[in-house]
Amino acid sequence: MLLVARRLVQALLILLGVAAITFVLLYALPADPARMIAGRSATAQTVANIRHELGLDQPLLMQFWHYLSNLLSGNLGRSYAQKTDVWTLIAARLPATLTLMAAGIFVEVLLGLTLGTIAAIRRGGFVDRLVMMASFVGTSAPQFLVALLLLYLLAVTLGWFPMSGFGGFSHVVLPGVTLGLCGAGWYARMVRSAMIDVLNQDYVRTARAKGLSSRRVILRHALPNAILPIIAMIGIDIGQFMGGVVVVEAVYGWPGIGQLAWQAIQQVDIPIIMGVTLTSALAIVIGNLLADLIAPIVDPRIRTR
């Protein structure tokens, strides 16, 4: 309980820091939001009016103070370009973002755990080398390429999955698998090295000496002890995916938060950029908090420390 309270205070400080840094960076940009909204034909008076209406003619500190006070009352502000509440725009994209995040992490972990464990058991052999090479290819292949290849093969040519959009289970398969394939390599490497460590431990040797089956040794004794770093990695991935995976979203027409952020950056729509950044930061904090809370359940040694 104390941990949660301490983490919540930390989270608030982190979010405040993120808000301040992002705000200053955005306003330091050599780009004028009022000019972008006003468009090409606007008179200087129109631009000045827009700047005034948005409060952009006030000193930076004053603007930040207004932003913070709105934020504390749960108001993320209004989009400059869309003239809609930022929260409405982000909330509309949360279901798709969360779905893709869950699917991506599921495939990553499933593949990573399986391949990493197999590689550790077959350490130094052909299978190990094959898995390591595959994980290297997976992590270094551009997401755009993997996404297009899967799309072309499984959706366009074979017609097994829809090419685009957000809807039923079939829609999430390709984007989820793309994210999974590109991210599983990290998990596989991590699991492999943790498993190798664990498999050399005395208790594993003891388990084997007691005559337990290899499967039982690995699943019951080794894997739970090797899984800890995976939990931490999932925590990080939650934050990363919640910030949007622009490329995968673009290829599969997935209405996630990344597309919203990308368009806002093009339009210098500061309230949306701030909103997405804070959402992403909040997700990272929550992801890490969850990882910290789950770790002691998986590994009782952490509880006793």
Partner: protein, 542 residues
């Protein structure tokens, strides 16, 4: 009277568009009614509020959701009354009186009355709306008081009865009818704007050809035919769904599979030739001219571009043909600021021909026999950096060493509007597309003295008081009898400006739209000069 006026004012337009009109006539055989289509775009739709929306994607949709006093005949830049039944112009060109059509209804069921027209334009001009359109209405009496925050009503708009709107102008404005046809003049019901609570852009109510039925943010918008629209058999399709967030390459694959009818972002350069050379390529590709010119600005306030000979030399150094090849031939070389479709374009004008030897000689004459170093700004999305690099190579051939600085669009715009900052800017990705088909729209903000201010769009910072005076004189010719003279006067402004060479007019880029084989209608309603896709006029063949 009005008919004759229109005939006179559009003589030049008709001449310029003769081939287009012929094409249109050929393909416009009996449009069919019914059917629903799917359209895709990469970018999300920002807003459908006519006082705010100002990008090329929402422009077409706003056109179809609302009606205005004036509009254009589909596929042409020819003005015609729309919400207005008729109108008269006073001999001094300062008073325009419009009679509204009777029985036109908003999609909320209420009849459109004169006070709605007044409210809508006042709303577009009001600073609180934060819209980009206020400047267009600057000639209406009292506009300055509203933009300056002194008043919320325009004294120059009167509504003597529910069916009459009278505009009083502070100066003759030959473009005024065009101004009443642009999206910012769309008529909206006040009660719906108030009810939307600042979110009218997502809950639009108009009296146009279509009604917004549903909007799933970030995914799709569904438009349904307005059954009560005041023109019989318009629109032709029963509805259309706009799917957003669609990568152009994937949209094209979906179009080939029959899932999409119009890929709004066109064909990615990598796929263009493949599609063009395919069996159905010709039927799928709509490749049309638009009112667009891509140019390089030469900053007259930055050395050595303050020297006219240097600017002329740069004009001769750029190989425009090669740039059209980078775009797979989807552009034609330009030699003057006006695009060929624009009334006033001078076909006989030759401009500066590509001539490396002459360019070198001019540079030597200007005191730069070994060239100089400079910076060329460009936006950072393909193919713009590649075009900037081609220009960079051309400049190197005459001894000018240009450093290409490819930045996000907002940063390039900011650099252009900062005095002394950007010596050269390639306008690609931000190239000027006319708001309405009149030559004046290509002058003030981008070449006139009023645009050569901090934050302005005249990135050459070129200010020629004589040409400004001629521009004002041309725009004052609101007498219909002088329209041909006015068009010629404007044309001469743009060819004369080239003597000072503040720009390198590089290309007139054509727009490419990909459509499915079942779609019918002439090319010029898919790349309509005033609205890109004309949802009112397109139809489904089966």
């Amino acid at each position: 009277m009005f008919k004759r006026w229109l005939q006179t004012t559009t003589v030049a337009t008709v001449l310029a568009l003769a081939p287009l009109s012929a094409m249109s006539a050929m393909a416009q055989d009996a449009p069919k009614q019914g059917g629903e289509i799917v359209v895709t775009y990469k970018d999300d739709i920002t807003t459908l509020d006519p006082a705010i929306g100002y990008d090329w994607v929402n422009w077409s949709m706003i056109k179809s959701l609302y009606s205005r006093l004036m509009d254009y005949k589909p596929g042409t830049p020819d003005l015609e009354p729309s919400l207005a039944e008729s109108f008269t112009v006073s001999p001094d060109g300062l008073t325009y009186t419009f009679k509204l059509r009777k029985g036109v209804k908003f999609s909320n069921g209420r009849e459109v009355v004169a006070s709605d027209v007044k409210y809508s334009i006042e709303r577009a001009v009001n600073p609180k709306t934060q819209g980009p359109g206020a400047g267009f209405f600057g000639s209406i009496q009292g506009a300055e008081d509203v933009t300056g925050g002194k008043s919320e009503t325009l004294s120059g708009i009167e509504t003597p009865d529910a069916g009459t709107v009278v505009f009083k102008l502070s100066r003759p404005d030959a473009t005024f009818l065009h101004v009443l046809a642009i999206n910012f003049a769309s008529v909206v019901p006040k009660e719906a704007v108030d009810a939307a609570g600042g979110d009218f852009g997502k809950k639009p109510v108009g009296s146009g050809t279509f009604v917004l039925k549903d909007w799933t943010i970030g995914q799709k918008l569904t438009f349904e035919r307005n059954k009560d629209y005041f023109v019989k058999d318009m629109p032709h399709i029963d509805g259309f769904t706009v799917e957003v967030g669609q990568e152009p390459l994937v949209a094209l694959l979906r179009l080939q599979k029959g899932e999409v009818d119009i890929a709004g972002d066109g064909i990615p350069p990598a796929k263009f030739l493949e599609i063009k050379n395919s069996a159905d390529g010709a039927k799928m590709i709509v490749d049309g001219e638009q009112l667009n010119t891509g140019y390089v600005t030469l900053n007259t306030k930055v050395k050595p571009f303050d020297n006219v000979k240097v600017r002329q030399a740069v004009n001769m150094a750029v190989n425009k043909e090669r740039i059209t090849r980078i775009l797979n031939g989807r552009a034609t070389p330009a030699n003057q600021p006006l695009p060929p479709l624009m009334p006033g374009y001078d076909k006989s004008f030759k401009g500066y021909a590509y001539d490396v030897a002459k360019a070198k000689a001019l540079l030597a004459e200007a005191g730069f026999p070994k060239g100089f170093e400079t910076t060329l700004y460009s936006t950072n999305t393909d193919p713009q950096p590649r075009i900037a690099q081609a220009i960079q190579q051309d400049l190197a051939a005459v001894g000018i060493k240009a450093d290409v600085r490819a930045l996000a669009q907002a940063n390039v715009i900011a650099a252009g509007g900062t005095e002394g900052e950007a010596p050269m800017i390639w306008s690609g990705g931000m190239a000027w597309i006319a708001d309405f088909p009149d030559a004046s729209n290509f002058y003030g903000p981008i070449l006139g003295c009023s645009g050569a201010v901090p934050g302005g769009w005249n990135w050459s910072w070129y200010c020629n008081k004589d040409l400004d005076a001629r521009a004002i004189a041309a725009d004052s010719m609101s007498d219909p009898a002088k329209s041909a003279e006015r068009t010629a006067a404007w044309g001469k402004v743009f060819t004369d400006i080239m003597a000072d060479a503040p720009w390198v007019p590089v290309i007139n880029e054509r727009r490419v739209v990909a459509k499915s084989l079942r779609m019918g209608g002439a090319d010029n309603i898919y790349i309509d000069p005033t609205r890109v896709i004309n949802y009112d006029a397109i139809y489904v063949n089966q």
